[in-house]
Symmetry: C2
Subunit: 437 residues, 2 copies
């Protein structure tokens, strides 16, 4: 296996997976050095060429996608998963639009974060520079391939993409669009490499290439992420589950409480920023907000797992409000199921969230300034939503163009990760002969 | 062992190290929640009270220090190490000044990094918030205890301090100053806790308290750091060795080249930002810069390990210029020893640095703008020094007040770490009922 063979046939596999993976990593490192010197204009030109290629090769992309769709039932994919895999005309257009939006963002590379002239005359600057090489391991829809590659090019990084086998043909076709665009923009093809073997050993081999890969971003189920953390010698930015909460204060607008609770829980259940638990201030029993929200959730078809105080508010409906266990509060249902609990104070809500939550996204619905301030201060989470749905916690919604994921780590990046989160910093000290006394 | 006993007698040890360590971590977490809500004014007041306590209790501190100095020979400390341990009047004053300088810095907590109004009317803000709880493991002079505690209080974090046993009495006396100051400022004592047992098992026990500790910062020898990384379930920001380079271009000012090379190598050899290798452009042989710098280093008493081209420039001095091996280029000598190599181009210098360096601090001496730009772009390092000594790569020199260490990681923090690097970010989305369609 030579270094230039970056896309060996997937079905035949490679002869020597370790050597193939080391080659990918080495090629990525070399490409990253060239990318770091490429102007933002050139990187943006590559992004626009990718968008054009996606639209120009729609037929090829859909033909490749058809192969994945044909194979999907044999891989055990549900109808919903198969639907998500499908590259419709609209989805191709939206994929291209996403890449163009990233091109339109300001260049994060070279951005000066701070600077000063030191008393000795040294001019000091702290500036953003690319991380270098990103290893992205994911189990998602094919559009994530384009988003991730675009965010890495935008930030001057080379990327190695390891997608799920259910999208292999689609991902390969997208990678071909990207390769052609890199040629057009005179940037190295190895800036974006798709792992060309479905051999599971490849992930383990890549995770020990710590000299050539700077960061690994796994995005997918918890078991995937844990396995990556376990094996990796490369720093990992983790994208764990979203066990998100909506806390409804006694001073909430009742209509708003209903609207936000139903939207956060039901608008799309299988995503990390959907709500999994509703917390209510005890005053919401007396003023009827709890009853209205619970009825609305039941009406929307949500199965509720509730504490005793909530159940007591519905004496005739114990069959619809099953008893919640501690496990329910710790679960990311990703389904039309919701845990419910009554608390006596916003600080109790914060304590519950800090105990059971995953530090992803947590909302408060309240018109009371002091309660909002207490919630913001006490809840340890990446995204605090005040009087709006948890579903807005998203790179595109936030105006980052797209996201490579939503970090549940506190170090380096927290919440939706855009291009700027794929940079590191460098201090540059510019002197004229200064020495230290 | 109860949770409130945070400073058990060091010499007797604790009965139950795991329970003691879990107690430290839990107490720190609780204190961090209170700190996160404390105003910057209050945190700065605590810092000023620490500085006052250090000066006011100078006699107590020096008495405690005397115990460490007495025990030092039996711990095998060299005279130089014993000297570094000594708390003279000047050093106490400088310790207090350092803490005051940190108090004078702007508050990093709550700083807004970006923000916008989204098309749907949601007001979005990304702001700095404390990391939470920092575990700091170090083998350094006692002033680091005060610096680290001050930086953590400044950034709203609780800290658990695990210093070296050679400074145990000094560190405990400093911790008592800090505890008194926290009382004065009405902040929780558990905001700064010194591990009160010298039992080595304590480090391992703390490193698995991942729910209550947010980050571990080890600062010391490479073996300490590797051991921490190996055992830790908590994210680690690594502070590895400084294998720093000075690259002298053919277009360097000869006097400046001599001055910077000698300063970077000899002003203080045992520190991470001292230079370990001098690289010369081949043109420096013809114009005599190499000869001048090499003579100056020899004159300063530096032992040189040189490549063949350097040795050939000194035909009569092969006994003073021993032959360099690959190992020499990879070594952080921390001593009056220096590796030397001639390269043909700035890109070869960058390649050498990227291969052998530790991405800490690397300098170029050149009056040629293009060479400087190439160096800045091609060298993958935390600190690029242009026409000044590597020795300036330091939090205090950079105007950060102090540093908890110099990160050689690329993620989260890179280079000298000040108070701002001890924060994470949080997105706050402020709506008025928005739901996602």
């Amino acid at each position: 296996m030579t270094a230039s063979t970056t896309h060996p046939p997937a079905d035949t596999g490679t002869d020597d997976v370790p050597a193939y993976c080391r080659g990918l990593a080495r090629n990525a490192r070399a490409a990253s050095r060239r990318l770091a010197g490429a102007s933002g204009q050139k990187r943006d030109a590559a992004l626009r060429a990718i968008a054009n290629a996606i639209l120009g090769r729609a037929a090829d992309l859909q033909a490749a996608n058809a192969k994945d769709l044909d194979a999907a039932p044999s891989l055990g994919l549900s109808d919903a998963m198969i639907d998500r895999l499908r590259l419709t005309d609209d989805r191709l257009k939206s994929m291209a639009d996403g890449v163009r939006q990233i091109a339109d963002q300001p260049d994060p590379v070279g951005k000066v974060l701070e600077g000063r002239v030191l008393p000795n005359g040294i001019r000091l600057v702290k500036r953003r520079v690319p991380l270098g090489v990103v290893l992205f391991i994911y189990e998602s829809r094919p559009n994530v391939t384009a988003d991730a590659a675009a965010l890495c090019l935008k930030s001057g990084n080379a990327i190695i993409l390891r997608g799920g086998k259910e999208a292999l043909h689609s991902n390969r076709a997208i990678a071909e669009c990207i390769a052609a665009a890199l040629d057009t923009a005179d940037l190295p093809r190895h800036a974006v490499q798709l792992v060309g073997t479905t051999d599971r050993a490849a992930v383990g081999e890549l995770l020990v290439c710590e000299n050539d890969i700077d960061v690994c971003i796994p995005r997918g189920g918890e078991s995937l992420i844990r396995a990556v953390v376990e094996q990796s010698r490369i720093p990992v930015i983790k994208h764990y589950t979203g066990n998100c909460h909506v806390y409804i204060d006694q001073h909430a607008d009742p209509d708003m409480a209903v609207k936000i609770a139903v939207n956060a829980k039901t608008q799309r259940t299988g995503v990390c920023n959907a709500a999994e638990t509703m917390l209510f201030h005890a005053g919401c029993i007396d003023n009827g907000i709890l009853q209205r929200v619970v009825e609305a959730l039941l009406h929307a078809g949500v199965e509720l797992r509730a504490d005793q105080r909530t159940r007591d508010a519905f004496p005739g409906k114990h069959n619809k409000l099953t008893e919640a266990t501690g496990d329910d509060y710790a679960t990311e249902f990703l389904d039309m199921v919701c845990a419910v609990k009554v608390v006596d104070h916003v600080s109790d809500a914060a304590e519950h969230i800090n105990r059971y939550g995953s530090r992803h996204t947590d909302a408060i619905v309240s018109d009371h300034l002091h309660a909002v301030q207490q919630f913001m201060q006490a809840v340890d989470t990446a995204n605090v939503m005040i009087n709006c749905s948890t579903r807005f916690s998203d790179g595109q919604q936030y105006g980052l163009g797209a996201e490579i994921g939503i970090s549940t780590d506190k170090l380096h990046a927290r919440g939706p990760m855009g291009a700027e989160d794929l940079t590191t910093t460098q201090w540059v000290a510019h002197g004229n002969g200064q020495t230290r006394g």
